[in-house]
Amino acid sequence: MNERTNNSVKCAMALTALYQVFDPELGINVVDMGLIYAIDFNETKKQIACEMTLSTPFCPMGDSITQGVKNALEQAFPEYTLSLELTFDPPWTQEHISEEGRIYLNN
């Protein structure tokens, strides 16, 4: 397996872990909510770089959601160190919600 393929597999595994982290108000996971902007694995440094956002800055549930992302990734990849970056550029909008997320919210 080359490095690029390996990275894609790891990213898919990371997303699987993040499917278990839910927005407590809406009940959607953070991936379908569109809160995860990027995940990258650095095999040399054994580092995961995760860039994410919140639906609004100073969201009262923000601490729990980011802690959830941290917990899920650290549990799934104990041998890696996590660098979690919270960004509001671009800000989250409803357009970030995935089709699966929309179907869930419609029911």
């Binding site: 108000e25 009262p60 601490d63």
Partner: protein, 421 residues
């Protein structure tokens, strides 16, 4: 990481407000016999201030400490100021209510009033400093801060009226300023605050794409125009047809806000509306009834004094027990479980299943609360309008039961300990 307001700041406000709601329903039951008389009565002053300050204001001030950082996208300036604000109001409110109930408007009530004004000043400074350091001004924040200015004006006028009772120093006796005092509070504080926060939270909870800042500014201008013209008319012009102007401006603002809520709901992505949101949306309907009554009150200025008194009583009751209470009853179960859930499960998120925030309260208790509240409101209002003491007693009993179940559920949330789902 962006720090949100600590739960320690907010929870005392919620707990205090819940107890005040229960006390308010007890005072209401006790005041049933005086509902056939004039609205200016010690027992009615006590129940009104218990509901307006202990219940409505404490709950809104508590929630504001959590919500203002969301609105201004900045953190709360000082937790210490929030504690101080709570402590001052928590001491002042019972003193004031005791003073009204016993109609001893001397030192005890005056001290209570001073403590409440001091609490509001501290709250306002905390809010102003939070906004100053955030550099993010938006229409919602302007609503909230202006509402706080009106709250300070209301409480300051109230304090002046208290002193005016014992030593007459104002142009008229205190009774002449009651309408001004009440509407500065109802419209300036409660309505403006609820609109400012609601216009942000309703689209947020419904995940709606709808935004209309220009409409919100128009609403803001109309409300303040209504208030300022009401102050002017009340102070300088004798009651007459001109008094319909503030009602017209305020009514237009409410209609526009109703449109804003409707448009937000129409454009929403989240189709399913939960019970708590439904109870809060009921408040929009419950706001229309007192507005119609207010129109009748102004109309009755030219007709009969006796009918006017009944309408004033029904209006006041529907504002505090109907409109404000229904918003709070719904929104407390929309906000408090999340605050407590955040506190209890913050470290466990993503490590396995945890209960949902809505599992922290008992939905059966919530339903009993709502099912005793709605008939309680309707029966009590009928009792006022038809002057039937038996309906007043049944209605007050319904509201008392509702308050009991509300408190039970709130205690259940506050005492929640970590469990696995």
């Amino acid at each position: 990481m962006m720090q949100t307001t600590s739960h320690r700041v907010v929870l005392p406000f919620y707990f205090y407000a819940a107890l005040a709601f229960l006390a308010g329903t007890v005072l209401l039951f006790d005041a049933v016999p005086v509902f056939s008389g004039h609205f200016f009565h010690p027992k009615l002053l006590a129940v009104t201030h218990c509901m307006a300050l202990g219940w409505g204001t404490m709950m809104i001030m508590g929630a504001a400490h959590q919500l203002v950082p969301v609105l201004i996208e900045g953190k709360l300036y000082s937790n210490l100021a929030a504690y101080l604000s709570f402590g001052l109001a928590a001491l002042g409110i019972p003193l004031l209510i005791y003073g009204f109930y016993t109609f001893s408007l001397g030192h005890t009530a005056q001290l209570g009033g001073i403590l409440i004004v001091a609490s509001i000043v501290v709250y306002m400074i905390n809010l102003a400093m939070s906004m100053a350091q955030s550099n993010n001004e938006n229409v919602h924040a302007v609503f909230v801060f202006t509402a706080t200015l009106w709250l300070l004006a209301t409480a300051s006028l109230g304090l002046a009226l208290l002193f005016n009772f014992t030593t007459l120093f104002m142009l008229k006796d205190s009774l002449g300023y009651l309408s001004l005092h009440a509407h500065m509070g109802i419209v300036g504080w409660f309505l403006l605050m609820i609109m400012g926060v609601g216009s942000k939270l309703i689209p947020m909870f419904l995940i709606s794409k709808y935004t209309n800042t220009r409409l919100l500014w128009a609403i803001f201008i109309l409300i303040n125009l209504a208030l300022l013209s009401f102050v002017f008319l009340n102070l300088f012009i004798a009651p007459g047809i001109l008094h319909l102007l503030p009602l017209l401006a305020g009514g237009s603002a409410v209609a526009l806000f109703g449109y804003y809520c409707f448009a937000s709901a129409k454009d929403r992505i989240r189709k399913k509306v939960d019970e708590q949101m439904k109870l809060s949306l009921l408040s929009v309907l419950l706001l229309l009834i007192p507005m119609v009554l207010l129109l009748l009150v102004v109309g009755s200025l030219f007709v009969y004094q006796k009918q006017q008194n009944t309408l004033v009583l029904a209006y006041g009751f529907l504002v505090f027990f109907g409109w404000i209470s229904s918003i709070i009853l719904g929104m407390s179960f929309k906000t408090l479980p999340f605050i407590v859930w955040n506190k209890v499960y913050h470290q466990q998120v993503g490590l396995g299943t945890t209960p949902n925030p809505k599992d922290l309260f008992n939905s059966t208790l919530f339903r009993i609360m709502a099912l005793s509240y709605v008939p309680g409101i309707l029966i009590f209002t009928s009792g006022i309008l038809f002057r039937l003491p038996v309906l007043l007693q049944i209605g007050a009993a319904g509201l008392f039961i509702s308050a009991l179940f509300y408190n039970w559920n709130i205690l259940k949330i506050l005492n929640h300990k970590a469990v696995k789902a």
